[in-house]
Symmetry: C2
Subunit: 185 residues, 2 copies
DNA sequence: CATCTGAGAAAACGCCCGTTCTCCCACGGT
DNA sequence: ACCGTGGGAGAACGGGCGTTTTCTCAGATG
């Protein structure tokens, strides 16, 4: 609080007029961050035209983000880990943010004529890249996620195309895989 | 502190004899958790024999973990988000834990005759599943991660096998993908 | 039996920090 | 010029909590 007062120059009195409590300030901050983050991502993706490129652009953008000097991981993941157990409001905002990100990705996946289940897989790659980049302190996870997406995208696309034999062939390709578990959801 | 005292029944005095400060207690807790987590994972994986199944078993185990009633996400990710910026010690423990997990996965990948770079991709799927499961409150991300791994594993295996044409065929399968960026790192 | 040691229980301290209160000045109306 | 209002700056309050201290007593020792 005092640090914010000092940094912003806004007197404490006014601060409490605008935000009745510290929590409400945090929530407002997270909401603002949510909007800006999604907007920046969308703007970057929009510099590409080809649907497949637009999907992969998400991971290129992550790489740029991870390279920012003050990158400290996804603020929503951090906030959820710290406050999610005590503040339902913060938990909800984090959940809403991740849902919005998922919808964004789902749109890109749909535009690339890939099946919807690819979305969930790409979300995991992106989220995993965020936490791994934060903890390891390296931007490389974005590249690894992109590499994985480059594999998953065509496979998913083939699975959705009118030639299902391709998907089947890919599914149990050379190496036989565990019997349990369904492939789509 | 007081809650720990109450819950454990250990008097505060003795607590401070064993752990000079709250931080040292937290660090000890994280170290113990680190060992237990990796041991549980290894024990579960060891119930399988086939190398490919052992890789996928990691995600089955994640599913079991996510279904535990008090699952609140990966404690190391949470601790890093909350304390990583202020406590170098906590940051190091989190990093060490994730490194150990990565090594565990790398061994499984090597045993399945898959190239090393698959490890990084599986790590991202697992980490992403942890955070997504925590925030969404659902265990399903484990299944999605497993589905993705089921696709990546045979492709990677094929890429490492002495028939590189398969990998190339898979790489630019039906849908051409973004020109920029290298495939392996 | 007297005494000393060490552990247990809980009160007390001190600090941090979110929140509120007080003081003071500048400005606008009459 | 006088006075009331509103906003700025910082001190002050209060609770929470990590840490320390005090008090007491059980058991061992000479």
């Amino acid at each position: 609080m005092d640090a914010i007062r000092t940094a912003s120059g806004v007197p404490l009195k006014r601060l409490y007029q605008i935000f009745p409590s510290k929590n409400s300030l945090i929530e407002a901050y997270l909401r603002r961050r949510d909007a800006r983050w999604l907007r920046n991502l969308a703007e970057y993706v929009d510099t590409y035209d080809a649907p497949e490129q637009r999907v992969l652009a998400v991971f290129d953008w992550l790489f740029l983000w991870f390279n920012e000097p003050d990158f400290r991981g996804c603020g929503f993941i951090n906030a959820f880990g710290e406050l999610g157990a005590t503040s339902q409001e913060v938990a909800d905002i984090a959940k809403a943010h991740k849902d919005a990100f998922r919808r964004c990705l789902a749109d890109l996946v749909a535009a690339a004529d890939a099946p919807a289940w690819l979305t969930d897989q790409l979300v995991l790659l992106a989220e995993g890249a965020m936490t791994t980049a934060a903890i390891s302190g390296s931007p490389e996870p974005a590249r690894h996620a992109r590499d994985a997406a480059r594999v998953l995208l065509p496979v998913a696309h083939a699975a959705a195309s009118p030639l299902p034999e391709q998907a089947v062939a890919l599914a149990h390709n050379p190496a036989p895989v565990s019997p349990g578990g369904t492939t789509t959801r």
